[in-house]
Amino acid sequence: MRYSIFSLLRQALAGHRGWEPAWRDAEPKPAYDVIIVGGGGHGLATAHYLAKVHGITDVAVLEKGWIGLGNAGRNTTIIRSNYLLAGNNPFYELSMRLWEGLEQDLNYNTMVSQRGVLNLYHSDSQRDSYVRRGNAMRMHGVDAELLNARDVRRMLPFLDFENARFPIQGGLLQPRGGTARHDAVVWGYARAASGRGVDIVQNCEVTGFLREGGRIVGVRTSRGDISARKVGMAVAGNTSSVARLAGVRLPIESHVLQAFVSEAVKPLIPCVVTYGAGHFYVSQSDKGGLVFGGNIDGYNSYAQRGNLPTVEDVCESGMALMPAIGRVRILRSWGGIMDMSMDGSPIIDRTPVEGLYLNGGWCYGGFKATPASGYCFAHLLARDEPHEVARAYRLDRFAAGRLLDEKGQGPQPNLH
């Protein structure tokens, strides 16, 4: 069923009794052309673009739980393409362009809201590094504006501008950045892929790989063996564990990232704001809740929940930036497991094992990447060569010394 103002009117007149499920909850078939492991945003987006762009529809997405219950449903929904490095920027800008047309492409309201992403600076040297980043963005054709304190004051008058230790001097704004509704992104991709014939199979955990010679020819799952010509992994925080089933070791550690949402308040924060002197960022959901977070807890974890020192650190940073937040009560906090790579950048590549393809290492920035990640992974799976904008995301870059280290932190995942 196509969604439109007419379908809405028709259903309204019929008492909303004619809506159909948005996508098909499929039973697994014995064999597919392509199997995608992981029904998060990236896996479902990959299936959609495989079907739509490459005409490959004999595809299954296998999800161990329910789709969108991983990081896709846990993130703070920020989308942006304000990257410095030439290996990253065109990829995230492709993602931004796909976001801009996503609702038309999927015929689904993913609530993409280009309300702007503002990174604050608090010192001369921080301003200089933002000037450099902004220039790099503009040279790649991405929008970036340097704001001074007066400009920022107009947008966000309630911030602590005269903070004794970290006064706000200004910020780097990407006006086209913003937020999107994370659950709707999952459902929209699922619906579009399912509509083109892709099987979305839930409660189907991949527990091993089927091999013939050295080649991967399918997967073992909790719902039986399924064969496939190609298998793509898009399992986010579980990348190391699934790759290990195929004997592949990766430059990845799994870490927990927490996020928070407050009770709903009237419209207060018009954009996404990140604090430049501590680990804190905040935006306001359409329901009115302040959605905020900080840094990863910093130790290997698969627990999907974090510890109190990080909660304290995030709240302290929030208070330092906008003291008014102290009057708002926190409604919920939660954690998700991310695959932190050794240089902080993702991997979209073939693996050393024939037939097995890898999409991982998304760290805490993988939501914004969802459309381009799916687009480029589908390209790789269909054509066996990397998409032009994902050429830097090779697995061999670590051995070859061609790291993509935006922050310049070195091989220490908890610093990226």
Partner: protein, 89 residues
Amino acid sequence: MRIECPFCGERDVSEFAYLGDAGYRRPPADSQGLAERFYEAVYLRENPAGPHQELWYHAAGCLSWLRVTRNTRTHEIIAVGLATQAPGS
């Protein structure tokens, strides 16, 4: 999460800094395929879901390096020793 430092006793995790997997071994300079072995040592990680041997530094305490065995699924601390002690001892 609290870590029982052999010198300072049980302390909150916020006193400690995390380095990561304790399995890191610098390859001897005369080993075969040195570049490959350095790649493995510097970049590849086991990253298990379950017990994990890892290095923590008691930064706001006695400044010792500790070898901690911790379950990454539950955050339970299973054992703590000095980093210089051999694994398991």
